[in-house]
Amino acid sequence: MRNVFLFIRKYSNFLFFLLLQIIALSFLFRYNKYHEAAFMNVAGEVTGSINQRFSKVESYFHLKKINEELAAENLHLNQLLIENYGKPDVTGKLVLDTVQTDSNREIRKYSWMGAKVVGNIEGTQLNFIIIHRGSLQGVATNMGVVSPQGIVGRVVNVSSNYASVMTMLHRQYKVVVKLKNGGERGTVEWDGVSPQYVTLKDIPKSARVQKGDTVLTSPTSSLFPGNLMVGTVSEIVDDRSSNFYTLKLKTATNFFNIEYVYVIANAQAEEQMHLEDSTRKKFQ
């Protein structure tokens, strides 16, 4: 027994070092596994408010660009107005389909919420952004996030006024997308190399792909409504040993300067997930 105490006393520094390492590594691995580490919620409030103050100053420098982007988006929306469509045939009458804009929950599947980006964590392998909209404002985990240019990522953690979003540039992020031309589905991942490019896997070789082809979100992903911009094909890797292409995509979103994003809530996500789970259980 005495020797045990002597040992502990002699190596107390080393043991303390090991203890701190174990604590640090357990934080790291637990957080990687479950994205809702409990203590990040508390920290999110504190660092979020500091980030917000900083971003207030920073956003002045980008005002001009944001204005241009908003104007472009307004233009795009104006193009869609019913007044812009007319028929030369006077006997026909064009009416606005009210179902599209109905706020009735049962019909409406996706609703959009705007949010300001107050923190941007980049440069490492795990990229997040922090947005100033939290559970009190209707954000929950596993909601899709898009920017005016294209999709951004998925909400992984929510505090009462802030939420953190795992961007496409995160090693664990995956999303189902499709080619605009043929409609073939594949999965987008990031290989951790360049922040401008992501990898699209599992596109069958029967698909006709060309450089510059557009890639959109697939309606099979419960996260995003279909046909949102993801990126364009910049390189086709023809792997002879497999029946699938690996494509390199240039992301539509520029992750270095996003300032405003939209959070997309899917009112029926839970129902769909529940059905998928129960189907899987039934046939396994």
Partner: protein, 177 residues
């Protein structure tokens, strides 16, 4: 200003500079991440015990992790260099008892060459461990090596600049007091 107060200020300033200046810069290359924050641990006084250096380093790393949303990543690397620091200091200290006569490791107390050897060794350990943890689940060895070398180069440059800009004059204190 007392040494304790100075170090508390440094704690916040290093975190602020790292998070809001160095990490805000658009990355030059995928290998290069400018790290400077761990200089705080290298500047801690000689007189602190190893356990307290490690505790401070752990807290310091963890507070950076809160901003970066990688709990434990920087903390683990900080604790490692805090643990190795006394070994390296003992090996490199040139004059007999310099760690008693001066307050903290610096160019004045150790001399240019030993001080930068000390910085370099701990920088390599810090980046090596950090990149190792970051790349553990993926990536090739070449990336690991490239990133450690490139990041170490940038960090050494930043530290040299910091040392020149904020030259710390260390007072010689006799140990007879």
């Amino acid at each position: 200003m007392s040494e304790l107060l100075k170090n508390i200020f440094r704690f916040f300033i290093f975190i602020f500079v790292q998070v809001f200046i160095l990490f805000k810069m658009p990355p030059l290359h995928r290998f290069i991440t400018p790290y400077l924050y761990y200089l705080y641990i290298l500047w801690l006084p000689f007189s602190m015990s190893r356990a307290s250096i490690m505790s401070v380093a752990f807290l310091f790393g963890l507070s950076l992790d809160y901003f970066m949303h990688t709990p434990g990543l920087h903390a683990a690397a900080c604790v490692l260099i805090a643990y190795l620091r006394p070994f390296v200091v003992n090996m490199l200290i040139s004059q007999e008892g310099a760690d008693k006569n001066y307050l903290s490791p610096s160019v004045t107390s150790m001399g240019w060459v030993p001080y930068f050897t000390y910085v370099f060794v701990l920088t390599v350990f810090h980046h090596g461990y950090l990149v190792f943890l970051e790349w553990m689940s993926f990536g090739s060895f070449l990336y690991f090596l490239g990133k450690v070398i490139a990041t170490t180069g940038i960090s050494m440059l930043l530290i040299l600049l910091t040392e020149l800009l904020f030259f710390r004059k260390e007072k010689f204190r006799t140990n007879t007091v």
